[in-house]
């Protein structure tokens, strides 16, 4: 199952707006998704879960996707993070 390590590059980190974009994206797919930071793991379809990761700028995350449309979800998610969630800075 696809897994990938990614770094948070936007200034504000995985704050509410960014986290809600992840949840909205993940909810479009049937695959299960978990995001891990250190020893804390969150369900990628849970806003609260993502927020509790406490992932500011520079955080290293391990994204693990599991399901029939896993690869596409992973690609889209990485794009979103690389694009700094559309933030300008």
């Amino acid at each position: 199952m696809p897994k990938q390590t990614v770094f948070i590059k936007n200034k504000l980190g995985l704050h509410a707006r960014a986290a809600s974009q992840i949840v909205n994206l993940a909810n479009k797919y049937t695959s299960e998704i978990t995001i891990q930071k250190g020893d804390v793991t969150a369900n990628g379809k849970s806003l609260l879960g993502i927020l509790t990761l406490d992932a500011p700028l520079g955080s290293e995350l391990l994204v693990d996707v599991n399901g029939s449309d896993a690869q596409e979800l992973l690609t889209k998610l990485i794009e979103l993070i690389e694009d700094k969630f559309g933030e300008k800075n």
Binding site: G13, L14, H15, R17, S20, L47, P56
Partner: protein, 578 residues
Amino acid sequence: MLKGVGVSPGISIGKAFLLDRRKIKVEKFTIAGDMVEEEVARFMDALQKSREQLLQVKEKLTHDLGDQGHAHIVDVHILILEDEMLVNEAINIVREERVNAEWALRKVLTRFANIFDQIEDPYMKERKSDIEHVGQRILHNLVGEKMRSLDGFEEDVIVVAHDLSPADTAQMHRGRVIGFATDLGARTSHTAIMARSLEIPAVVGLENICTFVKTGDPIIIDGTDGVVIVKPTPEEFRDYLEKQRRFKYVIQELLKYTDQPAETLDGYKIEIMANIEFLDDIPHVLSRGAEGIGLYRTEFFYMNSPKLPTEEDHFRVYKRLAEQVSPRQATIRTLDLGGDKIESKLHVMDEPNPVLGLRAIRFSLKHSDLFRLQLRAILRASAYGKLRIMYPMISGIEELQQANLILAEVKDELSSEGIYFDEDIPVGVMIEIPSASITADLLAKEADFFSIGTNDLIQYSIAIDRGNEHVAYLYEPLHPAVLRLIKRTVEAGHSEGIPVGMCGEMAGDPLSTLILLGLELDEFSMNTASIPIIKQIVRSVRLEQATELAYKAMSFSTAKEIEEFVLREMSSKFPEFF
């Protein structure tokens, strides 16, 4: 009878609605085994109901404010509401522990609160309050109480609260709230200003009204005298009905003359403008006799919004403003916030003295990218109507020159992009720091107009923190120092041939009208409720009477003497207003 500070005139008689921010008391009940699934269904119903309410709030905010920033907060709340961590865990607790849904939800909320307390990032930590908000909403729906939001009432209510946030008042906007009474607050607090622009009677600073008023109690609010009566006697009820009738009659009479100019008997004319925050208010303030918008605050763009507004966000709103007010003029004040308000978006440091710190024009000059973006939007919108730009909190000529330099660059930029705008858009200075008033002669050479902001001018010249209750008694608009600064500003402006207006609360206070008129201000910009009264006062005197009163007032040495003198004079001339 309770005595507080009357901050918005008029009398309201009705039922109290206690906006109780304290947490709902949740008790634990054991559920019979065969009732568990019913309890889960009850929880799901409450979620569904909460979701519908949030969607309504979102629609209202998007519609009223025309901005997506506030609406996004609501989106986050909806996502929390649907969050499977929260939902599944609460349901599991109901099933496994056989407890009521309230108890299960409270348990989950507490667990999240603890997790968020451990979080280091201050911005993410803040989300704890969002979770609590959502939790409270679900709990209210579970308990079957009306959600304590300030819209969607089915009957008129008088809101009683410890304090009201700007978000509360935004929701109250043109709803069925006919008055409010709060424990905290002062004349210049956001809620007081809002109450005046909504024209609902309000009394603040009541200290502990929340502790003995219940929802449904009959209550009377007298926003003119600062009196609140809970459970009135039949006599009190009758007296206040009569008082209310008289007040309504006076206002009704005044409203017949809204289209008349504010001109003295001997022909001295002043412009009466309105201070607004929401575009929805425009038709109303114009119908009340405003001749334009003298102060459009742009702070709400940045408040509560999880991201910074874009140029398009600004432009859309300013364009609507220009179009709706046209052919009259609207004055847009550039960002007047301290770093504290948008700190979370810009990582500004905490300041020991925010009032004296990096705020208003200082903030804009430091973060010139944000300033440029706002100026671009204003200029672009100036193609659609008559706009003016006003810089807040200018302390001296250098700041004005710097701001104007940036404005000139932005203009060049737009010209080279072939974008049309008003090349001669008037640029004004808000006079609200003593140094600006003292150097007004210098500023007047490089500004197109002045507008005196009395709230801050009073605060800075008397050196009182207007939020500090221990020195609130020193907040005296009629202090000789304040009057001298106003006089000096008007004279400096006029000797350079530029108009001088006032957009502070003092401009809408009938007690000060003749003094300000006597000092020959050209424009008063105020809350909507005051417009008819101020016009009437101006229209019933000769300029020389006002001048005489102003100069006599200025001959006294203390604020107290001035106030007593003016009150005496005004109540003999205008018994219906005092």
